[in-house]
């Protein structure tokens, strides 16, 4: 099995790895680059725990091949907050107890961040449908939705 050399950018850093063509981007991130914040919950694109952005588009990294990352810009949960400051969504998730086990949390944060970039003031329904591909089995989603709403309000400069 011949591996392919892949050069890509992850969270702003240039990186290289060797990928078996059958290997997913999720596997490459987790096993070749040590970025284990993206999770595998299903491997079929149904749970969203592996959500990352590729060239600015929200995708399931379990449904992207590692070799497809050649030349791309990848953003993962590890790049979300910056080195010293959390993203408002990260803070609001902790404040609102929007996580219980925390396994779906990285994927939901990455997805929610993308939502707020496209829509600074989403309705509850818009948030729920945007996040429909991110399964959470612990919370019943209530506190997740509230945390996203509160983070959005803060980012708009409004008091929640």
């Amino acid at each position: 099995m011949t591996k392919v050399h892949v050069t890509t950018t992850v969270n702003g850093d240039p990186v290289e790895f060797l990928a078996d063509p059958r290997e997913t981007l999720l596997d490459s991130l987790r096993n070749s680059l040590g970025l284990t914040g993206s999770k595998e919950g299903c491997g079929t694109g149904d749970c969203g725990a592996c959500s990352v952005t590729m060239n600015g588009t929200l995708v399931c990294s379990c449904l992207v091949l590692g070799v497809e990352a050649e030349g791309a810009q990848i953003e993962t949960i590890e790049g979300m907050g910056g080195d010293t400051q959390l993203h408002p969504l990260q803070r609001k998730f902790v404040e609102h107890a929007a996580l219980q086990c925390g396994f779906c949390t990285p994927g939901i944060l990455v997805a929610a961040k993308k939502l707020l970039e496209e829509n600074a003031n989403p309705t509850e329904t818009e948030i729920r449908y945007w996040l429909a591909g991110n399964l959470c089995r612990c919370t019943g989603y209530d506190k997740i939705i509230r945390a996203v709403q509160d983070a959005a309000a803060e980012m708009r400069g409004e008091a929640a």
């Binding site: 392919v4 063509p21 059958r22 997913t24 491997g43 079929t44 694109g45 149904d46 969203g48 959500s51 590729m54 588009t57 929200l58 995708v59 399931c60 379990c62 449904l63 992207v64 091949l65 070799v67 497809e68 997805a111 993308k114 939502l115 449908y129 945007w130 996040l131 429909a132 591909g133 991110n134």
Partner: protein, 288 residues
């Protein structure tokens, strides 16, 4: 498995034609990767079409129709205001495929070539009268979308043939289309039944119509009898009743984990009625 990134469809077709083992084309990958990872398919050659020039383009054709590249993901269709204004039913069908994340990858052509009778984007394409261009070892040919799937998971494409473009006809005036599907949840399910209706009005009277049903037969089916039931009418109650009866009569579904014969048949009629009403009001220029 070998991974190829040809730069033309001719090269892609040549690669596929000369491959000795199992070949798969890769666009969005949302079906191929699932099959690969589950071990259902072990391709020897995977041919990624995304490096081919123009595959990510949405362009108006000279006659006022639309040319959509094979690697355009669903999220780009929904973001294209003019396309949405012309063919809202086609776009809403594609947008129902999977999650926001899946929309970032999944394509119309992938959804079509996966060969599923439940593919959400296909009834809308069939109702719209869309065509696909096929590039093969012996050149290109153009066929109606409904000729591609032949049975669950199987297409009419010959070895070495690859779909190289999809074309929507000009919308024209006083037309409207709509797609509805039934799923148990609000998102993330495969259609139990899907129905697309495309029609044109003269005043209040329907002059042209195409009705397509998904997940009620081995392939998505065009139902001329359902169209005939509403052509020449103002979609009055009698026309709706005839439409429902024709849609139900066209069903030849199976009972499986997603639905029963009885349920699929009954809901096909319900969706045909509801989709026709939406298409009708869109043709009238009303918001729906």
């Amino acid at each position: 498995m070998r991974y190829h990134t040809p730069s033309t469809f001719e090269d892609a077709a040549r690669l596929a034609a000369s491959a000795s083992g199992l070949t798969r084309f890769l666009a969005g990958g949302t079906d191929v990767l699932v099959q690969l990872r589950a071990g259902m398919v072990q391709p020897d050659d995977l041919i990624d079409l995304k490096k081919i020039s123009g595959v990510d383009a949405i362009e108006r054709t000279e006659d006022g129709g639309w040319h959509i590249g094979v690697a355009v993901p669903g999220i780009r269709l929904g973001g294209h205001a003019d396309l949405c204004a012309d063919w809202p039913g086609v776009v809403e069908g594609m947008e129902l495929v999977g999650s926001t994340q899946i929309q970032g990858r999944a394509t119309l052509v992938g959804n079509l070539c996966n060969g599923s009778p439940a593919a959400d984007s296909v009834p809308g394409l069939v109702a719209a009268g869309a065509t696909v261009t096929i590039t093969g070892p012996n050149g290109t040919r153009t066929v109606p979308v409904e000729d591609i799937p032949v049975s669950p998971g199987k297409t009419s494409l010959a070895a070495g043939e690859v779909v190289s473009a999809i074309t929507l006809p000009p919308r024209g005036s006083n037309g409207g289309d709509a797609y509805l599907r039934f799923i148990p949840r609000t998102e993330m399910d495969i259609a139990v039944v899907g129905c697309a209706v495309n029609l044109r009005l003269d005043g209040d009277t329907i002059t042209e119509a195409r009705v397509a049903l998904g997940a009620v037969a081995p392939t998505v089916v065009l139902v001329p009898e359902a169209a005939d039931a509403i052509i020449g009418t103002t979609l009055d109650d009698a026309a709706i009743a005839a439409l429902v009866a024709a849609a139900e009569a066209a069903c030849n579904p199976i009972t499986d984990k997603r639905g029963t014969v009885e349920f699929r048949t009954e809901v096909a009629g319900v969706l045909a009625k509801r989709a026709a009403r939406i298409a009708y009001s869109r043709a009238k220029g009303e918001n729906a």
